[in-house]
Symmetry: C2
Subunit: 131 residues, 2 copies
Amino acid sequence: MDKIPILKMGHFLLITIQVDMHDRLAMTLQDDLTSRVVKDRAKGVLIDISSLEVVDSFMGRMLGNIAAMTRTLGAETVVVGMRPAVAITIVELGLSLESVRTALNVDKGMEILTALLETPVEADGHEHHPE
Amino acid sequence: MDKIPILKMGHFLLITIQVDMHDRLAMTLQDDLTSRVVKDRAKGVLIDISSLEVVDSFMGRMLGNIAAMTRTLGAETVVVGMRPAVAITIVELGLSLESVRTALNVDKGMEILTALLETPVEADGHEHHPE
């Protein structure tokens, strides 16, 4: 397995991580994903990690990096399907996933992305409140 | 890797096949998928095979079986993302994928499923039309 497929669904891209990531696979994913965000003009990225039974600091960092990279390109990332045991590990490891949005499943993740898409944003990157 | 994740998206289920299937994995997928179709009351199943560079007769038969099983449970299956080389192999191998619907990508597959969902079907075991 040398690359993880990226599926386009409307304005969003979906990635299902089914195997443990190693350095090269993570690099390829970052390259492919950032290219696809630009090529497909994607507004959001969903990363499903429901297959993962463990998340180590490498994986945690990778998810954070991907979220930061796609945000720079104008697309929000939502990590979906995290198992309870993985959430426990993430906190116990002290991994900061603060910059990463999470949702219970793909449907909920899609709702978050759609809501973000509909919220008008002001120039300095803040939400717009009509007076 | 001992199971392939099944993602729920609205009325549909999505499976991304990223690894070569062996007997046990295929069995597990059939079991999991049929259970999920019933549990989630799914109306359609999308199987993405864009990662697969080759499809052998085992895989071809498995796709046909899955389509037949889900149809029996009232859900249509669409295989999406087939590579040109795979399409060539399938014909050259003489694999009959007649019972399997295919589409270029997830978006197109979703369109087919949505259209099927909206098409009223006639009598024997079918939708009701108020007079």
